[in-house]
């Protein structure tokens, strides 16, 4: 295995640990929902998987694209809907 790819992974884990420190409870739900939309990054894998040959592979790829897109589109939209409502006086 390429050692670089492992380095990248470990560094990303550390960044992930560090970015969330003090979050006001007000934003827990939108934050969870927003990071959930980011986990829809699986869509990248889904797109790549459509080139994997074979009939079963194609169907699996299509299902993966649909699932991941639901996650991405739904996730970002619903987060925006929530955050739109947060107002100050």
């Amino acid at each position: 295995m390429d050692i670089n790819i492992l380095t990248v992974f470990i560094l990303a884990v550390f960044v992930g640990f560090e970015i969330i420190t003090k979050v006001p409870p007000t934003l827990h739900t939108p934050l969870m929902s927003g990071s959930n939309a980011i986990s829809g990054i699986a869509v990248v894998g889904a797109i790549i998987s459509t080139k994997i040959g074979g009939e079963i592979g194609t169907w699996l790829g299509l299902a993966a694209v649909i699932f991941a897109t639901i996650n991405v589109v739904g996730g970002f939209m619903v987060t925006d809907r929530m955050l739109k409502m947060f107002k100050r006086d």
């Binding site: 295995m1 990303a12 829809g40 990054i41 694209v65 970002f76 006086d89």
Partner: protein, 455 residues
């Protein structure tokens, strides 16, 4: 593929900035936009960088996915937000598992390293998928919201996990044996269910947050399958930040993660409440309650899930507005885990245009109860249960609570006398200074407001 990685890193930077901005009320909405631009960049980069893609198939899939996702996102009620996040998350985890499965069906040689990462993606992805759907079902009421516990459950889970590990090892050693692959899928699916059903009540949000973290891990391991930096970085980010958020939520309840997952809070309590002493409560009409409000100067509203169920956020605001015009001080006390999800109440009250600076969190508001005339508890239970402070046998012992009992009068609105979602009886209801007003939160508030105006 040098430039591809540059774009992936750029997308990841936007995700990081997005999450950072999402952590502050002022920049939160911009943060969501930043992250979605990052996603767009990641998608376009992939489409351009990889040849031989079935673009028509991708377009069809994305259109179908976008229609379903946006339909959900537009139509969902704010009260249903926790289950919405759960279901989206389930789809994300499912997608990772499908990608890994598609890669497995690819003909040709697969290295044992790739096979191990495929097994990991399928395992975590499938577990996230079924676990999220159970969480959705529980919150939506399709499945019992109570913890489902049976004797030998932990042993059974351990057996499942062992079988899973064995099938994974066999699969890596004999990739031609497709049955091991099916066994892996089936066992992961079952484990997702059996690990989620014993969890209930106030612990649900933690589970959703944890499953969110898992879906990141699943995406990252799919990244190792496909050797794609974009997936690895972003998946790792979500996996790790989700863990931290899960941890923050556990701390809010003064519990450890292990205790949340294996504690099965809710079942033990039934026996506890069964032995507990009878509680005698005083039940008032809204008219009588209105007189107490009329005499009060400082009022703290404590919203809970009952408010969400009754869709009473607008009724609360109307009443609060009226009380404010009468020169009274109104605050909102938000417990970190009130509702079915951390921040759930904030979202609902924001929907009713209540400015977020009127909402006070636990540490800020607790000293305020000392000189508070009326604490109005709307369908909250566990977060105001004094047992957390003084009953060592209570499963919620040690959880920080809102000290509503310190107020001169506590008016508690509940539908019935049934214990809360977590199934714990609340001695607060029997206190000297406690008054119960039964009924649906919205109806009660509207009636109360009417009575107040007639005084």
């Amino acid at each position: 593929m040098g430039w591809t990685n540059i774009f992936y890193v750029f997308a990841a930077v936007l995700f990081i900035l997005g999450i950072k901005q999402l952590s502050h009320p002022k920049t939160a909405r911009k943060g969501n936009l930043t992250a979605s631009i990052g996603m767009l960049i990641a998608i376009v980069t992939t489409l351009v960088a990889y040849g031989e893609l079935d673009l028509r198939l991708i377009a069809v899939g994305m259109i179908i996915g976008a229609i379903i996702g946006s339909a959900f996102a537009i139509r969902v009620k704010m009260t249903q937000m926790p289950q919405m996040v759960a279901i989206f998350n389930g789809f994300g985890g499912g997608a990772s598992a499908l990608v890994a499965a598609a890669e497995f069906t690819k003909s040709g040689e697969i290295t044992s390293f790739t096979l191990s990462t495929i097994a990991l993606s399928v395992f975590v992805g499938t577990l996230t998928f079924t676990g999220s759907f159970i969480a959705f079902g529980k919150l939506q009421g399709f499945v019992s919201g109570r913890p489902v516990v049976f004797p030998g459950q932990q042993i059974l889970n351990t057996v499942f996990a062992l079988c899973l590990a064995i099938s994974s090892i066999y699969l890596v050693m004999n990739p031609a044996q497709i049955n091991f692959f099916y066994a892996l899928i089936a066992l992961s699916a079952v484990l997702g269910i059996t690990l989620t059903i014993p969890i209930g009540g106030a612990d649900m949000p933690v589970v959703i947050s944890l499953l969110n973290s898992y879906s990141g891990i699943a995406a990252a391991s799919t990244g190792f399958v496909l050797m794609n930096n974009g997936l690895i970085i972003s998946g790792a980010l979500v996996g790790a930040s989700g863990m931290i958020l899960t941890n923050i939520m556990c701390k809010g309840m003064n519990r450890s993660l292990a205790n949340v997952i294996f504690g099965a809070v809710g079942l033990e309590q039934e026996s506890v409440s069964g032995n507990g002493k009878q509680i005698t409560v005083k039940s008032y009409s809204t008219e009588e309650a209105a007189m107490i409000f009329d005499a009060a100067e400082k009022i703290i509203v404590v919203p809970g899930y009952g408010l969400a169920v009754a869709q009473a956020q607008y009724a609360v605001r109307e009443m609060a507005d009226y009380l404010i015009t009468k020169g009274k001080k109104v605050l909102y006390a938000i417990h970190p885990v009130a509702g079915r999800m951390p921040g759930h109440m904030n979202v609902l009250l924001a929907e009713a245009n209540i400015p977020y600076d009127q909402l006070k969190d636990l540490d800020e508001v607790n000293p305020e109860f000392e000189d508070c005339d009326v604490a109005l508890v709307l369908g909250a239970n566990d977060v105001v249960n004094p047992a957390a402070r003084n009953d060592k046998t209570s499963p919620i012992y040690g959880m920080p609570i809102l000290d509503v009992d310190k107020s001169r009068t506590v008016i508690i609105n509940k539908r019935t006398m049934n214990p809360g979602f977590a199934g714990i009886q609340n001695e607060l209801f029997g206190y000297e200074n406690s008054i119960m007003v039964f009924g649906d939160a919205k109806d009660m508030l509207q009636q109360l407001l009417k009575d107040l105006k007639e005084l």
